[in-house]
Amino acid sequence: ATLADSFLADLDELSDNDADVLEEENNDVANMEEDIDGDLADIETLNYDDLDSVSKLQKSQRYIDIMQKVEDALEKGSDISNQGLVLEDDPEYQLIVDCNGLSVDIENEIVIIHNFIRDKYRLKFPELESLVHHPIDYARVVKKIGNEMDLTLVDLEGLLPSAIIMVVSVTASTTSGKPLPEDVLQKTIDACDRALALDTAKKKVLDFVESRMGYIAPNLSTIVGSAVAAKLMGTAGGLSALAKMPACNVQLLGAKKKTLAGFSTATSQFRVGYIEQTEIFQTTPPALRSRACRLLASKATLAARIDSTRGDPLGNAGKTLKEEIHKKIEKWQEPPPAKQPKPLPVPDSEPKKKRGGRRLRKMKERYAITDMRKLANRMQFGVPEESSLGDGLGEGYGMLGQAGSGKLRVSIGQSKLAAKVAKKFKEKNYGSSGATSGLTSSLAFTPVQGIELTNPQAHAHQLGSGTQSTYFSETGTFSKIKRT
């Protein structure tokens, strides 16, 4: 009874577990739905008319602090670093780290504001967002155009390349947008102003970081130059973040999206970012540029890793890496070695590489001598052969069609390969039981003469009797020879 009770108790536990699991799942689902609702709510808030709820960075204390410090430091000029201090204790280094984080935040903020402007301006000029990709350029153009419907009155010189200005003007003449109401327009212009202000702030931050670059990351600045090094660090979000990236990612930092509007992509440089602006890259010939970009990115990553661990404060490793890069690029530009005239090899000294295998055998089968030709080549002893023109003239037919050959017509016969395959197939399917299928018969139905009774063994021996040995026959089986 106790055993039965324990079994019953187990069953009850199982059912309870099921119920619990179900409840938990329901709870999770409910939570997820709440989360999704929460996210949707967040996304919806971005569509609010109020800019401040979208972009909070400029009002945040952190931003204001760091910008203040940066401006002070820029006014102070370049500071001779204290070599004795450990890097992390130096307050300037902390500021640099903060600046890196801030520049990433500013970029994200700019993207959010760009979305805001785009959503608002979509009523007026929807095609503009696909023509002008860069958020800051978009903000400038929106500010310049304002609520104007006729683009010939707007001067976009200096904001965009002239080809894009042309495309923009043409698209504006056929746009489906309508002028914005005044308050929406005002909000949009405010957002543009804010985006431009953030952009200038980011530039200041980058300038500051660049001026301190030689102190922070000497090896990296030796290779790519301090401006590019500052940009790379800013985009990556810090020196350690840059060091952790693989070199292929470093190559792509700062890569622009491809320009559209029907321009040819043949001249567009593929997959280069800030590395493009380095001096080494600019001085390499265009044919070698993609290789140089990869090389630069990998060596820059190495240098960044050295710098992040402060392994070489004087920058010697950077100098050696730079030398390496120069040497490699020069080596690529060397002409290939001159062609030496080679003397001919001795004829017939190298045996021909004979190939084998199934493919070759099948190819050779096409030109192999058929059974019909073999029969025609041979003659029976003492029996004159028939010939095409009769009386011994013309081609002889040999043993073809002779009486006693047992065949009405000579078939093509199986090739050796087919014979092997057929034998294997037979063994696989019929060899096991030993009983053949009930539908096989020894009667052959020829189309012209009707039924022909053939002895299937005769066909095998016709050619084989004198000339073929049964040792190597493909279709032959074991034979028993009686001792006499």
């Binding site: 005239p341 003397p343 001919l344 090899p345 001795v346 004829p347 017939d348």
Partner: protein, 102 residues
Amino acid sequence: MDEVLASVAETIKNFAVIYLVDITEVPDFNTMYELYDPSTVMFFFRNKHIMIDLGTGNNNKINWALKDKQEFIDIVETVYRGARKGRDLVIAPKDYSTKYRY
């Protein structure tokens, strides 16, 4: 012919060596080999004279100047192959029976 021979010498040096003989300086073999043309090329393999069927009727030598380097290399290679097999007469890859085409 001398230019052709000089330019070809390096290329076929693995299986043939070219000797240039001035028959005015070394007249010893003039009657033996009937050397009286401006240029004559004869082939020898292991001290045996190899004949080439060029279609001209004279199988012993090439007694005109060949212009094409590749033609000459082909003839030398044919001679080498045949001589190595033990043949006394080889057939040239190109027929020169109409070499005096007008």
